[in-house]
């Protein structure tokens, strides 16, 4: 019985948390000028209207597509780079300055150059976003790899684990919190950059819409689109990330 009750309890917590957030928003919005912070109801109205005419689903799906591709690319490539740097001191010494340069290249520069070199294509857009995020993932996973416990690597060496087994059973479980951190803040960052990418060279997507509403200073419109994305992220977090995390962290909770 208790096992069944768990998901329900979690849903309850979520509903409570979310309602509280909306409540805070509603209260604040009555205190300030509605034009600058419309009430939740007003934003919901816009959201429903935009959903009804199909605009919001369309732009949302375009943005989600870009975010998803860029995310997968960035996590895979950035993770590999970060793990390589963290594991090999020589590589690290040599490439750390490169990593710092890459980290601090302005998004604008990367986006514009990528558009100019590869044209106003979807690939250029997604690539530019990934390039912006890769160094961040690399920086996080590099720290994680440097913090790996040699106890376990030594054991794996003695028992001659294959490299796949090492990665899967020794390294990745220790890197899980770093991957989780990189994933959560990663999606957030990627979507922030996707907004810029869409602003600078796409004809659809939430960034495109948000900017249009910004031109008209329609805060309700901006929030409607932004929140549509946020809602999807909440759903992904609750339905994918969190269950995965609970699974990966089972062993930790044993004495808690």
């Amino acid at each position: 019985m208790q096992v069944r009750a768990e998901p329900l309890a979690r849903l309850g917590w979520f509903v409570a948390s979310f309602s509280a957030l909306v409540l805070v928003w509603a209260i604040v919005s009555t205190l300030v000028d509605q034009r600058y912070l419309p009430s939740p109801g007003a934003v919901l109205t816009v959201m429903l209207a935009e959903t009804a005419d199909g605009d919001l689903p369309f732009h949302l799906s375009m943005t989600l597509m870009r975010v998803a591709f860029a995310f997968v690319l960035a996590m895979a490539i950035g993770g590999a780079i970060g793990m390589a740097l963290g594991a090999r001191a020589r590589l690290d010494r040599f490439f750390l300055p490169w990593l710092i340069v890459a980290l601090n290249l302005p998004a604008l520069v990367v986006i514009v150059l990528s558009y100019i070199w590869f044209g106003l294509t979807e690939a250029a857009a997604i690539g530019a976003v990934a390039v912006n995020k890769i160094p961040m993932v690399a920086a996080t996973l590099r720290e994680g790899t440097r913090a790996l416990d040699p106890l376990y690597s030594e054991m794996a060496k003695v028992f001659r684990f294959s490299w796949v087994a090492r990665l899967r059973h020794v390294v990745l479980p220790q890197l899980q919190p770093y991957y989780a951190a990189a994933a959560r803040s990663g999606i957030a960052l990627i979507w922030k950059i996707v907004l810029v990418v869409e602003l600078l060279g796409r004809s659809n997507g939430i960034g495109f819409q948000v900017h249009l509403y910004f031109q008209m200073f329609d805060v309700a419109g901006i929030l409607a689109y932004a929140l549509a994305f946020v809602l999807v992220m909440l759903a992904i977090d609750g339905l994918l990330l969190q269950p995965f995390e609970r699974h990966a962290r089972r062993w930790r909770t044993v004495n808690a």
């Binding site: 514009v112 106003l120 600078l200 060279g201 249009l212 910004f214």
Partner: protein, 308 residues
Amino acid sequence: QESKVPEVRVGILEYGTVAWELATVKDYELDAAHDIALEIVPFAGEDATAIALKTGAVDVIVSDWLWVSRMRSEGEDFVLTPYSTSAAALMVPQDSPLEDIEDLTGQRLGVAGGPLDKSWLLLQGLASERFDRDLAEANEISYGAPPLLSEMLKADRLDAVLTFWHYAARLEAEGFRELIGTQDVAYALGAKGNVSMLGYVFRRDWARDNPEAIQGFIAATTAAKQLLASDDDEWRRLQETGVIRDEGETLLALRDSYRDGIPRRGGAQDRQDAALLYEILAQIGGEDLVGGARVFDPETYWGLAGAR
């Protein structure tokens, strides 16, 4: 199938002013009437349209002659044909004590488009010529995004805002008044008429290789301009089809400003005035603004004598 008509891809700001004109072309199939196929490619920012033209994703965008001239100095063979004489206006609240640009000292002044914006440079040029005053020094300048500046003005966080014409029109509809417009400044600086600040910009190669395309495009947009200039119902149509989202007073203000901005002179005169203004701008803006080219490149205007 019927014979293929040349395609013209135009990169525009969705809900921008150009969209009104092009939507009209589409609605009345003026493109087909002039033997072209118009494709509207919407973007969310000015920068995006510029990148789109650079990368060849579109054939035509709207920009100003200053930018075209600067790009030409860097080897891009862009040219332009007039689109609008509207540029910017300095807006103040109705009850503002400011009456003339001479009063502009110690004010909180918002400027759209940044320190190298042409209207801002011209205004500075005028002030320094007339009163020997450096506006940038004498006032507290905030550069910022136009919508943000409008809100700042409404919230009384700024005393005056120099902003693009459609933002100015909206402000006017909300009870703000224009202190001075870019055209007034241009006149004061010696221009002979309304200078086309904005034009349709494209590559000269493209225009040369597709003469029917560019001619058809100009004809189609000119026809659209006439419709919008003469018939008020057209504006209701634009509003009903969702191309314009403004209503009431604002719509009227936008309409009037748009009509004021329709170029009425030949390109040759425009070019003369542009050359004049360019000199002034080059003086104030310096190399940052105009790059290596100290004098106006006459080839900037497409289709005029000497530009062939």
